[in-house]
Subunit: 518 residues, 2 copies
């Protein structure tokens, strides 16, 4: 058994069953070992952003890590943007990066880079393997670290992958959490019960089914509002789950919302701040005078903290949950041109029971979230870290994580171009992903921000950085070139028809929606 | 005048006339300022690798920097792989990266990352702007630093871009080199004249016309061989220029070549080492006992050092240059299936006078370099740092740097997928680029390395990481989807016909070559 085989045996024994890879010469022993190792599926991405984005999507859906196998510094670098979103989504991801042989690195060969410096920018945990003897321990450690809901990265020099490792025991490591701080939880409980207006901001694991049901009990007992950051990583929604309000993207409505509260409890959420800094607007949207308590600290399990909070606030004062009076059932299908409103309404009406909606529609899907309150049970993902190009690779990972759950990816065109290679992996793996491509011919979100900054009359140079319709991108051609059947629609009825058809047929589909931005 | 306007005025005054950009909200003042600033052209890339790769190509061709304008940490991260090649090519590149407002960054907003850590992995010079007052000084400094042949990066917080900067003088900074060490040069001259077999390994600026003519004088005076690293960044070739031998990629022939020499002089070149570490093969291909002298140190001008060396070795002992007995004129056009040999022969025969050949053909173009000895004057680029996906963006930059010089990009399919978005910029700018897409349906270079490692009978998992033909990528569809007219050829005669046609018509073309790997 060589080092690479030891690494993979350790991976499988510690629960890794899929590897998203774009490997090269420094990972050859790992590539060869994948052939001999049962229990782990290998999926090729034609760009590393596809691999890391897919690992992100997989981790978000299943709450356990996939492995991304990446080639040296440039390969890792290509995966950074998607890993940044994974970090902000608190998704478990394991990166394994091949490095030059330890005795070769000092020669500074052409592909040599400071991998560790780049790894540090997105990883909550990182290590470079120092000897073949430590490989199993290191691999078990990187998986355990990721399982706390973070990106964890292990760099393995090529010579250690080749080294003879017979007789070295395979290590297993259970993910362990730090104990919850009950004093903090009790303070939070007290704050929620003072009678003022209160909110709990949920994030990470707290937005999964278990956490949401606990949060619903807390709400029933205290009357608090349930909120989430603007861009949650993964959220269970619909059915009997409580409705969660996302803190608005733009600072004014976000501030307006948060000033209502006398106390805000954070549970797995990031401290709510404005997405960008706007002159004269505070960074923190929870006002300075508001009581603010985070019930989970670093390395703690937010759902354990939430359960403790539910125990501490006591039983419900009333039986029905407040604010969930959303009519269930199918909303009506709109007609007319494709606008953010009609597109969002069609998706909300047709999204399949138990499906997963991957939202990178940006300006096109601003209306979608409230429109889909009260729908059947489904998963919901957003961009989390704001690095565009997450939607298509995350859909790949989601579809492989849950093959029985149809994936609907509402995908902005400018963002789609960043990781367009993901379409090929959808075709190769026959994934059940329907990509609703929002063709509005531009980076509309930047145009909105330009407008906010008072720049409405754009000159040639500014326009050249916002409009992407000269030449127009033909998404039907592009998609077919990568093996995914595609069609184009111009109005809401055609979208509904094609969306129904795509969901009925197996395998991936792309529907290019010609959006009127109005 | 605000900070952004000051930055751009400084850029133009210091010789920057093009900006490859994919900007976002943190760069809005710079986007707006581009509209008001004469003398600088803005070019949009639909992925940051296109922007940095184009800046690399521009810098390689003109030996002066373009500016890449990038959005925060994820935007910079997407550009790292192409910057890595620029670093290894010793190309001048100026990166300007927008950062959150300095007062907002501590709030850790979703897009916040440790940009400086990533910047350090590829930049020879880096700085974060600390105040608006320092903006012009910082911008002049980043340009001067890049002009020494390196990647230089400036991070500018958004509030400094907005700040009022009226009355702040605009700084100009001339690039300055460290003085050449004449003692070292004289030692090198002595080594070349001892009568043994000697070589000069040329790199960076030394491979441009001026350096090559100086090197030809040194060769005439000493009988030394002229070599280059396996993957030079940019090289002037053909016409009356001396033929330079590239050190082979694989270690055995590289070692065989280098053991011939009693002394090796390095002039702007990287110390020759094997591309990867192979067990039992030394990293350094110049044997330990061989005299080895580098005539240029950090920050020195290699062409000044080379000129000093030419002076020190004295006049030519004979009039004709040795080893350039390559028959000039047009080589014959082959027929038959498309193989590495026939493709290379067609390109060598048809490449236009004064054109630029961007070679990312990898396994398909191994035969091309020797076949193109003795052709007319042309520029030649290779992958330099080994990070795949450089060819198409570098072609964008080359075509904008030298609009009168036709660009021929021989492009491997697997690598092309990494930065496929570059096709759109070619279409948008109407660039004179002919992309010869080598469709061999796989990562053949990895298959070769697997074979070297003794892995010839690939299993399913290994094959899944090497073959990219299931589904096949339809490059004609893909290219048309991005606005570039495309055609497919199956044999050498059709390639010659379509290549002639493409070079005659203005604007970009893609020719998908169905390669028989044999």
């Amino acid at each position: 058994m060589n080092g690479a085989e030891l690494v993979l045996k350790t991976a499988v024994l510690n629960g890794i069953d899929i590897c998203f890879a774009n490997a090269g010469t420094t990972e050859i022993p790992l590539v060869a070992a994948l052939d001999g190792q049962a229990g782990i599926k290998t999926v090729l991405g034609l760009f590393e952003g596809v691999c890391t984005g897919a690992a992100d999507g997989f981790g978000r859906v299943l709450d356990r890590p996939a492995m991304a196998l990446l080639h040296l510094g440039p390969g890792f670098a290509n995966g950074i943007a998607c890993l940044h979103n994974a970090r902000r989504a608190k998704a478990p991801v394991v990166n394994v990066i091949g490095e030059h042989a330890s005795w070769h690195r000092d020669a500074d060969p052409p592909l040599c880079m400071d991998i560790a410096a780049m790894v540090g920018a997105v990883s909550g945990w990182k290590r470079t393997c120092r000897s073949a003897r430590g490989l199993s321990r290191d691999m078990a450690a990187v998986i355990a670290a990721s399982s706390r809901g973070q990106v964890a990265s292990l760099i393995i020099p090529n010579d250690h992958q080749w080294a003879e490792c017979g007789g070295i025991p395979i290590v297993t490591a259970s993910p362990s959490f730090e104990p919850v701080d009950h004093e903090v939880v009790d303070r939070a409980a007290k704050a929620l019960k003072t009678g003022g207006r209160t909110a709990v901001v949920l994030g990470g694991r707290a937005l999964r089914h278990e956490g949401l049901m606990t949060a619903a009990r807390i709400r029933a007992a205290t009357g608090c509002d349930l909120l989430a950051n603007s861009f949650p990583g993964y959220m269970d929604r619909g059915g009997s789950l409580p409705v969660v309000t996302r803190i608005p993207y733009f600072p004014e409505p976000a501030l307006e919302l948060m000033t209502r509260y006398d106390a805000v409890v954070l549970a797995g959420a990031w401290e709510p701040v404005t997405f960008f800094g706007y002159e004269g607007v505070p960074s923190h949207v929870i006002p300075g005078g508001t009581m603010k308590i985070a019930i989970d600290g670093p390395g703690q399990d937010v759902n354990e903290a939430l359960e403790a909070l539910a125990g501490s606030v006591g039983r419900a004062k009333r039986m029905t949950a407040k604010g969930d009076s959303v009519a269930p059932g199918r909303s009506s299908l709109p007609a007319g041109p494709l606008t953010p409103e009609t597109v969002s309404a069609v998706v909300a009406a047709l999204q399949p029971e138990d499906g997963i909606v991957v939202d990178e529609g940006l300006t096109t899907t601003f209306p979608y979230y409230p429109l889909s309150h009260g729908r059947g049970p489904h998963g919901f993902m957003t961009i989390a870290g704001g690095a565009i190009g997450y939607g298509m690779p995350c859909s790949v990972g989601a579809a492989l994580a849950a093959p029985a759950r149809p994936v609907i990816n509402i995908q902005a065109d400018g963002s789609a171009m960043y990781t367009v290679q993901a379409l090929w992996t959808m075709a190769r793996e026959g994934l059940n992903v329907t990509t609703l491509l929002c063709n509005n011919g531009g980076y509309r979100i930047i145009a909105m921000e330009l407008e906010r900054a008072g720049l409405t009359d754009l000159g040639e140079a500014a326009r050249a950085l916002v409009d992407i319709d000269d030449p127009p991108i033909d998404w039907v051609h592009l998609s077919r070139g990568l093996g995914v059947s595609a069609t184009r629609v111009d109005d809401a009825r055609a979208l509904a028809r094609e969306m129904k058809r795509a969901m009925k047929e197996p395998g991936p589909h792309l529907i290019e929606m010609m959006i009127k931005s109005g």
